[in-house]
């Protein structure tokens, strides 16, 4: 029999190894995370590694298509591989929306505070600092707009998925309308593929060159 000491030591060693692995992978665990990993790594490890991305909506597109596939709509649905690619796109968009929510919830990302700061600096005559503050205000506005666009697109996609599931039930009763429902499928696929444009827009925001302040 292995002594409890040895089992406990081995258990803690695995936790420390995971913490080191997470640090090397760029996750930057805090001291609390390291303690948690040492104590309860089977719980904390997946949390740290997979974060909050493992959500119910991670599979909702695949699930909606699966339900529709048992109806006459099956002939107009995308194939399994395409569905998985679309699901990954949807998951990425949901993840980015969650990131934006998290970022914009921070106290130092409050647009009203940033605007007040810019006004104070302008009133004080610090033009360079005020210009930077105004830039921050514009950036925060862009982030808010981006978040609203993500939210709006995801809402539309989710409504289309719900409509697809409902339409599948209707088609089950009236198989003749299956082909006519293909427009709904095309719209859904197009919307999800269109999320790629939003990713590109976000990338353009992130790589927007800083304004020339030499003047």
């Amino acid at each position: 029999m292995m002594s409890l000491d040895l089992i406990a030591l081995g258990y803690a060693a695995i936790g420390v190894a995971i913490a080191i692995g997470a640090a090397l992978a760029g996750r930057r665990p805090t001291a609390g995370d390291v303690l948690m990993l040492t104590a309860v790594w089977p719980l904390a490890g997946p949390m740290l590694l997979f974060g909050d991305r493992d959500r119910a909506d991670d599979h909702e597109l695949v699930s909606a298509l699966a339900r529709a596939s048992t109806s006459p709509l099956a002939s107009v649905l995308p194939d399994a591989e395409t569905a998985r690619v679309l699901q990954a796109q949807l998951r990425e968009a949901s993840s980015r929306l969650a990131d934006l929510d998290h970022v914009l919830a921070r106290p130092d990302f409050d647009p009203a505070s940033a605007q007040r700061r810019a006004s104070e600096l302008t009133a004080r005559g610090s033009s360079a600092a005020a210009a930077t503050a105004q830039l921050r205000v514009r950036t925060l506005d862009q982030l808010r707009d981006l978040r609203e666009r993500y939210r709006s697109e995801l809402d539309e996609v989710r409504e289309l998925m719900a409509q697809l599931v409902t339409q599948a039930e209707l088609v089950r009763l009236q198989p003749s309308i299956a082909q006519a429902s293909s427009e709904l499928v095309r719209e859904l696929v197009s919307r999800v593929e269109g999320l790629g444009d939003l990713f590109a827009y976000q990338a353009s925001l992130e790589y927007e060159p800083a304004p020339d302040r030499s003047a």
Binding site: M1, I7, P42, L65, A66, S69, T70, A74, L77
Partner: protein
């Protein structure tokens, strides 16, 4: 024509098959630590995968001969999904089994813990295999709300399962005798 038809919401894929490959090695490692010999590291995976490889063609032949077999490609896929299910189940039971096995004084309890984990994972794998074979056989549409296997298909699967479990059990018992001696 859409090829998208997955009756169950979740089908284990690549990483699950990797777990299926590594899980028995890990169980063998636990037994190897207690037995103080490396033999179980190789014997456990050999027993599990050897038995499946040896008996799976028989299931297809018997099913096809009785007219209850899905296409060969779907049978292969079903076995892949079932192996993945086995791997995932074993991965979740590995930590409890390791703790129970390594903290026991009696080697019998060590072996019992490891056996229970493998047996439970095998049970879930077989259950998943049965479901995958049935859902592959029945048409997705126009399908009934519930897909039920025929009596013949059930009998074939039951006999095959019993034989596979019997063979694996005997080989496992021989391994136990060697480890416990």
């Amino acid at each position: 024509m859409s090829a998208f038809a997955e009756p169950l919401p979740y089908a284990p894929r690549g990483p699950a098959l990797a777990l299926a490959a590594l899980g028995p090695v890990a169980i063998g490692g636990i037994l190897a630590i207690r037995a103080e010999t490396a033999a179980p590291l190789f014997i456990v995976p050999a027993v599990i995968f050897g038995v499946v490889a040896a008996t799976s063609p028989a299931l297809y032949i018997a099913s096809a001969a009785t007219g209850t077999a899905p296409p060969l490609a779907k049978v292969i896929r079903a076995f892949g999904v079932a192996l993945g299910a086995f791997g995932i189940a074993l991965a979740g039971l590995l930590l409890p089994a390791a703790f129970l096995a390594l903290s026991s004084v009696e080697t019998v309890m060590t072996f019992a813990a490891a056996s229970a984990a493998v047996a439970a994972a095998a049970f879930f794998g077989l259950r998943r295999l049965a479901h995958e074979l049935v859902s592959s056989t029945a048409e997705a549409f126009p399908g009934a709300a519930t897909i039920k296997p025929s009596l013949t298909a059930s009998t074939v699967f039951f006999v095959w399962s019993a034989a596979t479990i019997g063979i694996a059990g005997r080989l496992w018992w021989d391994l136990a005798s060697e480890v416990l001696s």
